[in-house]
C-alpha cells in the first residue's frame, strides 16, 4: 500500500543544507484528478492504491511529452523517488556512518539535488531525473531501481570511497575477471552447460578487448575515477567483435544485458567468497604457539632481566628511529600532518584521550581520520621490529632465532608481551568505539613509559 503524499511532497535540502519536505500543490491536484479515490481519503493522506498501480499509470503519462500535463506526472514520480533516495541514504548511514565518520546530512547534498521545479530550468539532470529516465518497469520496481542507481551514483561513491567505503562496479569486476576464472566459476559454482560457458567467455573476451583498452587509454590521458557504463559505441564494437568470433549477431542492448548478467553472476560468487570463512591465520603457526608464549611469561621476564640494559637502550633508539621515519614521510604531506601525528601519539599514549577527543583536538573530521593518521598498531609493530633488529646485532645468543621464521616470530611475540601485553586490545577498542569515554592504555607499560619520555623531549622542541 502506498502513501500517496509521497507523490506530491518532495524531500529536498534547503540552501543551508537542511532536510525539508515541501508540498507541490499542482502535483497534488494532478494526482487527485488522475486518482479520484485519493481525494476521497485525503484527510489521512493514505489511500488504497498500491505504488505499482500508481506508477504504471503515471509513467506513460510522464513520457508522453506531447500531452499537456506530462510534466506533472513526471513531478509526481520525481517526488516519490526523492523519498526513496532518502531511504538509501539512511540505510548507508546506518550501516557505515558511525565507523566511517559521516551522517545522513553529509550524503543528502550529493543525491537530493532535485529543486522541485515543475520543469527543469537548465540542462542539469538531477539524480532523480536520471533514475526516472533510465527506469524500465518491466525489469524492476521504481523502489529497487532507485536503490540500484543511487548506490552506483559516482559522486556518492566518490564521497564514500574517501571514507573507506566502496562499491565495485560491474565494469570493474568484468575488467578484473580472467577468462579461465569465469570458466571455473560458471562450471564449479553455477554448473552451467559448456556451450553457455563458452559463449560467456567469448563475450567477456570481446569486452576486454574493447573496454579494458579504452580504460587504459583514458588512464593514459590522466582520467581518474570509477569505470563508467559502456558507451553505445563501445557496445557496438563489442557486438561486432563478437559477431566476428562466433557468427552470432547481438544488438548493443543484448550485449549490455548479457554483460550485466555475467557481472551479476560474478558478484554473487564474490559475495559468497567474501562472506565465507576468513583466510586462515596461517598453516602451521597457530594461536597455540602464542598461548605457549603467554604460559611462559616468567621466561620472558628473565629474558628481559638478562639483557635489560641492551633492551632498554635499543627500545629508546627504536622508538626514535620509527617516530622520525614517520615524521619524515608526513612532513612531505600538507596540513601539518607531522605535528598532528606527534601530538596525537602523545594524547593517546600519555594522556589517555579517546579517539574522538583526539580528533577534535587535532582538528580532524572524525575518529577514523585519527586512526589513519596514527596507525597505532603499525607504529608499535614497526618499533618492535626495529628493536629486534638492533638486539640481533648486539646479543649473539639471540642469533639462532634469526635463522628460523617461526622462532623469529616467537621472539617478536615475546618482546610484545614484555612491552605491553594488553595494548593491542586497547587500541582495537579505542579505534572501534569512538564514543567511549576514557580508555586506559596502561600508562605504566614499558612501551608507554619510554614513548612518553621520548615524546616529551621532542614535543618541547616543536
Amino acid at each position: 500500500m502506498g502513501v500517496s503524499s509521497r507523490y506530491w511532497q518532495i524531500v529536498k535540502i534547503d540552501a543551508a543544507g537542511r532536510r525539508q519536505v515541501r508540498e507541490i500543490t499542482p502535483a497534488k491536484e494532478f494526482l487527485a484528478d488522475v486518482f479520484p479515490q485519493i481525494r476521497a481519503n485525503n484527510q489521512d493522506n493514505g489511500v488504497d492504491v498500491p505504488d505499482t498501480s500508481v506508477q504504471s499509470v503515471l509513467l506513460p503519462l510522464s513520457r508522453n511529452t506531447h500531452a499537456d500535463k506530462y510534466f506533472l506526472a513526471e513531478r509526481c514520480l520525481l517526488c516519490f523517488i526523492s523519498w526513496e533516495i532518502e531511504q538509501v541514504c539512511l540505510q548507508l548511514t546506518a550501516a557505515f556512518g558511525t565507523d566511517h565518520g559521516f551522517s545522513v546530512h553529509d550524503l543528502f547534498p550529493h543525491v537530493l539535488d532535485d529543486d522541485g521545479k515543475l520543469k527543469p530550468v537548465d540542462n542539469y539532470q538531477c539524480v532523480s531525473r536520471q533514475v526516472l529516465e533510465s527506469w524500465n518497469p518491466e525489469k524492476s520496481s521504481l523502489t529497487t531501481w532507485t536503490n540500484i542507481r543511487v548506490k552506483q551514483y559516482h559522486i556518492l561513491n566518490q564521497f564514500l570511497l574517501e571514507r573507506g567505503v566502496y562499491l565495485v562496479s560491474d565494469w570493474a569486476i568484468l575488467n578484473d575477471t580472467k577468462n579461465q576464472q569465469l570458466q571455473r566459476i560458471l562450471t564449479e559454482f553455477y554448473s552451467f552447460a559448456p556451450s553457455q560457458i563458452l559463449l560467456a567467455q567469448q563475450l567477456l573476451e570481446c569486452y576486454h578487448a574493447i573496454y579494458r583498452q579504452d580504460r587504459l587509454q583514458q588512464r593514459a590521458l590522466g582520467r581518474r575515477g570509477k569505470c563508467t557504463i559502456p558507451t553505445t559505441q563501445q557496445l557496438e564494437q563489442i557486438a561486432s567483435l563478437f559477431r566476428g568470433k562466433t557468427g552470432k549477431g547481438f544488438s548493443s542492448e543484448m550485449v549490455m544485458s548479457q554483460l550485466q548478467e555475467i557481472a551479476a553472476q560474478l558478484r554473487r560468487y564474490r559475495i559468497h567468497v567474501r562472506g565465507g570463512p576468513l583466510p586462515a591465520e596461517s598453516m602451521d603457526v597457530s594461536d597455540r604457539q602464542l598461548e605457549d608464549i603467554k604460559d611462559h611469561q616468567n621466561e620472558e621476564v628473565e629474558f628481559l632481566e638478562l639483557y635489560q640494559s641492551q633492551f632498554l637502550a635499543c627500545l629508546e633508539k627504536a622508538l626514535a628511529v620509527v617516530t622520525q621515519s614517520r615524521v619524515n614521510i608526513l612532513e612531505k604531506k600538507k596540513g601539518e600532518q607531522a605535528k598532528k601525528f606527534l601530538l596525537g601519539l602523545q594524547l593517546f599514549h600519555c594522556q589517555n584521550l579517546s579517539m574522538t577527543e583526539i580528533a577534535s583536538k587535532l582538528g580532524l573530521r572524525a575518529q577514523d581520520a585519527v586512526t589513519r593518521l596514527l596507525k597505532l598498531k603499525d607504529f608499535r609493530t614497526d618499533v618492535r621490529r626495529e628493536l629486534l633488529s638492533m638486539l640481533g646485532d648486539r646479543i649473539l645468543e639471540l642469533a639462532k632465532s634469526y635463522a628460523h621464521p617461526d622462532k623469529l616470530y616467537t621472539l617478536e611475540q615475546q618482546i610484545k608481551i614484555v612491552l605491553d601485553e594488553q595494548i593491542d586490545q586497547i587500541i582495537k577498542e579505542a579505534e572501534i568505539q569512538a564514543q567511549t569515554a576514557k580508555i586506559n592504555p596502561q600508562p605504566t607499560s614499558l612501551f608507554n613509559q619510554k614513548l612518553c619520555h621520548y615524546l616529551d623531549g621532542i614535543n618541547k622542541n616543536i
Binding site: S140, T144, Y166, A172, P279, D382, R385
Partner: protein, 448 residues
Amino acid sequence: MNKLSTENFQILEFDVLPTAAITLTGEQIAQAIEISIKVKDQSRQWQIYLHILALLAFQAWLGEREDSLTVNQEKCTSFQPLLVQEIAAVANLQVGKFKLCLLTTDSLSDDQIVVPRAVIELPEYIPHFYVLIEILEEQETAIISGFLSYEQLIKNQIKANLQPEEDWTYLVPINWFENQPDRLLLYLRCLEPNAITLPSINSQRNQIPARIQTELLALLPKLQSPECELWQILTWEQGIAVLTNYELLNWINNLQQQVDSPTDNYSQQNSLRDLLKLLTQPAINVGRWLRNELDELAQEASWRLLPNLTPLPVMRSPVEEFQIITTQLRQRGLEISSQAQGAYHDLILAKIPLRLYAVTWDIRSESDPYGWTLLLVLATDVKNTLPHDLKLRISDQNSILAEQGISQEQGDAYLFTRIIGSLNEKFLVSVSLANRIELTLPPFTFYH
C-alpha cells in the same frame, strides 16, 4: 517482482577498505600505464598494468613501514620485455636480502589465485616469499594482503597434492597465504636469508635445449602463429628451455613477429639449430689470442695460432698463405688492424681439406666500450679450388648473420666475412655443402 529486481537489489553490497589500504597516486597510475601500454600483446596489458600498480604500491608500503630495506628491480621480470609477457607475476624483485614474487588479486575477490608455474618450479624465478597484493583499480587502492614463503608453499602443495594446470599455472588457494603482512616485514628485516632454502638449478637442465632440438624444429610452423600461447604449442619441458633461455624466448618471439614476412623454413631451421648450439656449447675465447694464447677449448679443437700479422714473413705455409689472403683483402679495402691476432683450424668436409682462419682485434670505442671483431676466412690448399656449393654461415643468438657462398666477384680461392661483437657475445660458425653435409665449430666469444 521479477528476477532481476530481487537479486540485483541484494548483491549491491558495499565493502569497507581496511585501515592499511594504500591510495594509489595519479603519478603511480600514470607510471603503470606507461609501462603496460608498451607491451606488444594487448591482451596482456591489463594484467601487467595491475602488476606494476602492485609493485609501486608495495614499494610505497615498504617506504612507509620499513625504509631501511632497499628494493632492487634490476632483475625484475616486469621490466624485461619478453618475460613480462610470459610470466604473469612480478618475479625476481630483490628486497634487502630476499627475493620476492608479487602476485595480485583484484576486485573479483576470487578465493584462488593463478600463479605461473615458472615461479613455483623454476629456480630462476622462485622467490623466498610470494606476496599477495589486492589491487582495486577502480578505487585506485592497493592492499598488501598476505604472503607465503616458498617452503610453506611446497609443504602445502605436497599436502594438498596440488597439480599444475595445462596452461602452465597453478591455482593456489588464497587461504594458504599468511594474512599478516607485518610478519613479512619482520622476516624481510630480521630473518637470515638462508632460513629459507631455495632450490638450485638442476645440472641436467642445460641439456634440455639439445634434447628438444628435433621437437622444436618440427614445431616451427606452429610457433609462427602469433595468436597461440606457448603452452598451447610446447610441452612443459620445452617450455622450461624457452623460459630459462632468454635468447631462445627472444628467437621464438621474433619468429611470431615475422608472420607477415615469412622467411624460408630451411633458413629458420638452420638459425634455430645454430641458436641451440650457441646456448649449449662452450665457446672459444678469441680475446686470449691477442695475448698470443689459445684457451683449452681451442687447443682441443686443434686451432693453431698465427704469429702476429705485422712483422712479416715467417715462411710457413699456412702463414704465407694467409699473408697473401690478407694482402688481397686489404687491397680490396677491408681494414685489418695491425694489432690483429689470428689462428687457424684445419678441417675436412666430404673429403675436401679446408682451412678456416679466424682473426680478431679489439675495436673498443667510446660508443662501444666492449667492441671486438672477428674476420673469418675459409680457404683450401693451393692445389684445390673451393667447391661451388660451399657455404660459410655465421649466427648469433638472434639470427643468421651471414651466409657466404662462392661468387663471381670473390673468386673461388676463399670465402670471408667479418662480424662485430660486444662483450660476451657468441658467434657460431658452420661450413656446409649443398647436399647438407655440415660441420659446426665450437662458438667464438671474446672477453678480456
